[in-house]
């Protein structure tokens, strides 16, 4: 007694949609899934005809589905977009090198050009070497900060009008929770935005999968037989996000709408005027977006290059002290050298 598709198309249902509880067949699910993403794109005016859009591609399920669906909708609805895959190679042996193979397959399968930018060429450091310096405790800070900026740099090089990322509804609900738990009002304010950046000097980022459930993304990839990469990073997985994620998944089991509900809550939040708002400016060193001077990426990089890898970790005052101490030591050594040269 298989369950029939809710649309009365006559076919057997293959899945229960978490968003609506509807039982749908494969074809009707594909149609609904694609139509909803199209609706999100249109109602939020994410793109304009003739634009060049970089799809941030990691080879994982979300960016693989995003690239596939954007290509499909671009053709079907004549968006007139020029799509390009943008991948960041952090230089993590046994992880990123494998996932980049998946991205190359996406490039060939979907006929979208691909640009790979490496941490090595951007910063002169690979994650493997950074981990060699810092160990496995704060390495994710480096990776996250560098990746965010690497996408901006890549987008600038490619002269694109926007960057589309694969953040799905579950990711965004998780981020809302994490920002509440951390009291991070600055991020809480913008983490539900479907479009961020886009002022002067910044390339906007858009999230076409913002309202798409993770379960549906995985089901879509499965039924469409899309190839994606699914290995956890070889370095420490993000523990804090992991807890938020497990908590959310537990809630979802009891009440599937919880994901949309949390996003909705995040969208409706209003902040008092007294809540400090970070001023987004431009880093005076590298010229990329930052709310501090110099930007976090530049401080982390300075730390690596000075042999003080912890420079950008923790409080700014601590970093200033480390810098001062090293400058003093260097000056002392310099003076010692000068004295020696007198002989």
């Amino acid at each position: 007694m298989p369950i029939k598709c809710k649309t009365e198309c006559g076919r057997n249902a293959v899945l229960k949609r978490p968003k609506t509880s509807d039982a749908l067949c494969k074809e009707c699910f594909f149609a609904a899934f694609e139509a909803e993403i199209h609706y999100t794109i249109i109602t939020n005016k994410l793109f304009t005809k003739g634009e060049k859009v970089a799809v941030a591609a990691s080879g994982g399920k979300d960016s693989t589905v995003l690239a596939y669906v954007l290509k499909l909708l671009n053709d079907r609805h004549d968006y007139g977009l020029q799509l390009i895959l943008l991948s960041i190679d952090e230089g993590i042996t046994g992880y990123r090198d494998d996932s980049l193979e998946t991205v190359k397959k996406n490039r060939d399968d979907y006929q979208i050009p691909l640009k790979i930018l490496s941490y090595d060429e951007l910063y002169g450091w690979t994650m493997d070497r950074i981990v060699g310096q810092i160990g496995r405790s704060n390495n994710c800070t480096f990776c996250g900060v560098f990746r965010r900026q690497a996408l901006d740099r890549g987008a600038k090089q490619l002269e694109v009008d926007s960057i589309a990322t694969g953040h799905n509804a579950d990711d965004i609900a998780e981020t809302v929770l994490m920002n509440i738990l951390r009291g991070d009002t600055a991020r809480l304010r913008r983490c539900t935005d479907i479009r961020t950046g886009g002022g002067e000097n910044t390339i906007p980022r858009v999230k076409p999968l913002k309202y798409t459930y993770e379960k549906e993304i995985v089901m879509y990839a499965h039924f469409k037989k899309l190839v994606y990469f699914s290995t956890e990073c070889v370095f420490a997985p993000n523990a804090y996000r992991g807890h938020a994620r497990a908590y959310l998944k537990d809630l979802e089991r009891v009440r599937p709408s919880v994901i949309m509900d949390i996003i909705h809550s995040g969208e409706q939040l209003l902040f008092k005027d007294t809540v400090k708002k970070p001023v987004r400016g431009i880093c005076e060193r590298c010229g990329f977006v930052s709310s501090q001077q110099p930007c976090k990426a530049c401080i982390l990089l300075e730390g690596l290059n000075r042999g003080l890898p912890k420079l950008g970790i923790g409080k700014k005052s601590k970093g200033d002290r480390m810098r001062l101490k090293q400058d003093k030591e260097l000056a002392l050594r310099e003076r010692a050298n000068l004295v020696k040269n007198d002989f």
Partner: protein, 101 residues
Amino acid sequence: MSKSDLNIFLEFSAGAELLFGNIKRRQVTLNGDEKWTIRKLLKWMHANILTERPELFIQDDSVRPGILVLVNDTDWELLGELEYEIQPNDNILFISTLHGG
């Protein structure tokens, strides 16, 4: 000796296979004299083939939230989930979603 064997296929993807000796698809033979539900199968899997970090797969007698289960390519949520009665030659697929994307 049991009168009949219940042969089924178990399939793992998107990382779930790492918890099961990195084998993506395998045939298993259950005692066909008994009635097998997914609830009972999960217990059997835990005792027999779940080799790595069982807490990443099993939680409170069910699969950990975030792991998708498909029986013959149909979402188990349409089939009664834990109470689904396993049939000969069923293909049961477990897809992990608990990784970044």
